[in-house]
């Protein structure tokens, strides 16, 4: 790959101070470090470092999202054609379904990455920083939690809001306190509710005659049980946000995150524990069909699984202490089910639950760390220390 290196070395001076395009320095740097891990060596402290860097970390998450993306893409096409012809089988016309899905999702991906990365590059340049890889993941998460028919201009505004207000004003990736991808969705949800809720939006260009209600919507409008079978919910062929429907696809991603250690198993597990605990609690006092719904249905419907695996585990916005992670995850599960069952306005509780706990994560950490501080003070006082 000598020629790539030579090419980069040749054009590099153009992007440095005094070159032709100094304002593109961060952009050039991003592409250069994409091709080659830089030759920087350790200057202080430990003389050798682990080979893992932020690019690889983020790439692992993107790879973990690919099964959901793939099944989501196919599902867009399948749901669309199913709404036109309810007798259609799952694999009746694979290529037609896939092609339709690709045509739908590609513009969404392009807008998400184009707008988001554009803002990232601009801010990196303004700050004189290297471009942070955080948005590579957000840029993939955002399309996967959108309905397939989301208008692109609305998506653009949502991405701008999420990246600028959700992240850059706080200092960029690592400094934000709310998950940018969920913020984009929440923005659309409240700013353009007609594009984000109701029965129409979850199937691309749905035929009017077809019901197309998601399991969550069915439950909220007083259904006894979701009409989608458990098997369909697990495989993921039901109406819903693009990447959220398939339990299997998300589980594959979860396995990769857990094996590599990039996703926190503590958070994932505790979200499910919290969801189960709340679900079982409702079962005990069940007064209507929703409260009597077996708790595991909550994991299969809507964005619970996707949120637990990919959103709650975002290390920047989650609790940062190990003890805090258990509390944080558990409360996400509890709140998600609580909002779903009790709140009449929002069918899906996962998004709001995670955002809520994002806000509370620093407080949880505060109490966890405070216990450590109190332990230290107590030990000191036992030895006769006094405040000065």
């Amino acid at each position: 790959m000598k020629w790539v290196r030579n090419l980069l070395d040749n054009i590099k001076p153009n992007f440095e101070k005094g070159g032709k395009f100094p304002w593109l320095h961060s952009t050039f740097d991003a592409f250069e470090t994409f091709a080659f891990v830089p030759k920087t060596t350790t200057k202080s402290g430990a003389h050798f470092r682990d080979a893992l860097d932020m690019k690889r970390t983020m790439t692992i998450v993107i790879i973990a999202l690919l099964p959901a993306l793939l099944i989501g893409t196919y599902n867009i096409g399948y749901q669309h054609f199913l709404s036109l012809d309810p007798t259609m089988g799952l694999f009746d016309d694979v290529w037609q379904n896939l092609w339709y899905g690709i045509v739908k999702i590609l513009p969404i991906l392009v807008v998400s990455y184009g707008v988001g990365l554009g803002i990232e590059f601009a801010f990196a340049q303004l700050r004189g920083h290297e471009v942070n890889e955080g948005y590579l993941v957000s840029g993939m998460l955002i399309p996967l939690i959108m309905p397939p028919d989301v208008p692109l201009w609305q998506l653009t505004i949502a991405v701008i809001f999420a990246v600028v207000i959700g992240k850059e004003v706080f200092g960029g990736t690592g400094m934000n306190f709310m998950n940018p991808a969920l913020l984009a969705r929440a923005f659309l949800f409240f700013a353009f509710p007609s594009s984000m809720s109701g029965d129409k939006v979850w199937i691309a260009e749905k035929a009017d005659a077809f019901s197309g209600a998601t399991p969550l919507a069915e439950m909220m409008t007083g259904g006894t049980m979701p009409s989608t079978s458990i098997l369909d919910m697990i495989i993921g062929f039901m109406p819903g946000s693009i990447g959220e429907t398939s339990v299997i696809a998300i589980a594959l991603g979860a396995i990769l995150l857990l094996i590599t250690g990039i996703g926190s198993w503590k958070i994932m597990l505790s979200v499910f524990l919290g969801g189960a605990a709340m679900g079982l609690t409702f079962n005990m006092f069940g007064s209507n069909s929703y409260t009597q719904l077996p708790f595991y249905y909550h994991f299969l419907m809507g964005g619970f699984m996707f949120g637990a695996v990919f959103m709650a585990t975002d290390p920047v916005t989650a609790a940062q202490t190990n003890r805090g992670k258990w509390i944080y995850g558990f409360l996400i599960g509890v709140m998600a089910v609580l909002i779903r069952v009790v709140n009449p306005a929002y069918p899906e509780g996962m998004m709001l639950s995670i955002l809520l706990l994002n806000v509370f994560a620093p407080l949880i950490d505060y109490f966890v760390v405070d216990a450590n501080i109190k332990m230290r003070t107590k030990r000191w006082k036992l030895k006769g220390g006094t405040n000065v």
């Binding site: 080659f36 060596t41 402290g45 430990a46 050798f48 790439t59 450590n372 003070t377």
Partner: protein
Amino acid sequence: MSNIITVKKGFDIKIIGEPENKILIPRVEFYAIKPTDFIGVTPKMMVKEDDKVKAGTPIFYAKHNEKILFTSPVSGVVKSINRGEKRVIEEVIIIPDSIQDYEDFGKESLATMNREDVVEKLLKSGLWTLIRKRPYAVIPNPETSPKCIIVSGFDSSPLAADYNILLKGKAAEIQLGVDVLKKLTQGKIHVNVSYEKTTCDELLKLQGVELNKFKGQHPVGNVSIQIAKLDPINKGDSVWYIDAQDLAIIGKLFATGKVEKDRIIALVGNEVVRPQYYKLKFGACIEHLVEGNVLKENNLRYISGSVLTGKTISAEGYLGAYDNLVSVITEGDYYDFLGWILPGFKKFSLYRTFLSGFLQLLPKQKRKPVNIDTNLHGGKRAFVLTGEFEKVLPLDIYPLQLIKACIIGDIDLMEELGIYEVDAEDFALCEVIDVSKTDIQQIIREGLELMRKELGE
């Protein structure tokens, strides 16, 4: 009687180039005392260039306490006083005589000496500077007294020297050294050894000490971790510590009246042809150790100390004041095409995003030594991953929170989070595994220095 203490967290990184059990005596043409090795010491010179000195002659004293003397390891002639930026004295170079001449510090029996006499003798001979104090890892104030003293009898860092070899035949000196330490504190003298590695009677048969056997992985050999297990440091406490090999030098001073700053050190690392031990004196030039004993001419990093915490020196550099290791590893200034995405069979990583990371899951006896280089493997970023530092820091401390407190310089918060209990070296493994490539040891060191300046010792 001994205590067995198990430390659960931590990690032993095995690296190619462990030393063989063979001790050579190298030719050394120059010695240097480096004031920068001593934290918080501003040197005031007591000799000029071309002055003749004996082994034990004071070279400079500490500006903050003129009683703390730094003495020459050899007799010879002061060749030069090398200054760096802002005229800071970096090295005092001494050319040794062929026949060594020693200052005489007297052979008075320890039994007849009181604490003041002992302190005086240690200060005059310059051996006081072998003792250090927590918090801050500085040379202690002779007017104070610690709650206990730790004799550090093993090193758990990668490629560490084997203390069974370093201490061989020094039983009497170490015992005398322990007796000297007993004059300095009312508290206990803790001798800390490794449960798995320490076999030498030089430590195991010491009298009048508390023997603690530590079981676990690095940083179990760091005194911070040991103190936390034995007698945690609270605000206002001080604990002193000394390396077992240096304690033998103190013992020797009280036995013979001479300052003989001999140390056995190990030359290690993946770029060393014959990793082995050398017997030399403090501050020796490493030139003839590495000459013809490294795998290539250029692009090597020479480190006085371990690969985790040592200081970079040149191929003609000098051994640091507290080091018993010289490590030589590959400089990593290469570009790595798509290195962030390839499977990575040969890369060093504790994370399982690389296939090689799975090998690190093996129990420590079965881990294969790996090759390392100095490449940073990525760009600096804000902290993103959490929960990783905790796995390699066996202290009841929240590492990320403490690091952030140091970055913002909030001394109240640093104190609350336990800054007194740590030293920069304890965070070396955190620094190695940090995906954001932050220079954590430097941050902690600067935090400690801020505390020391604001609050005094």
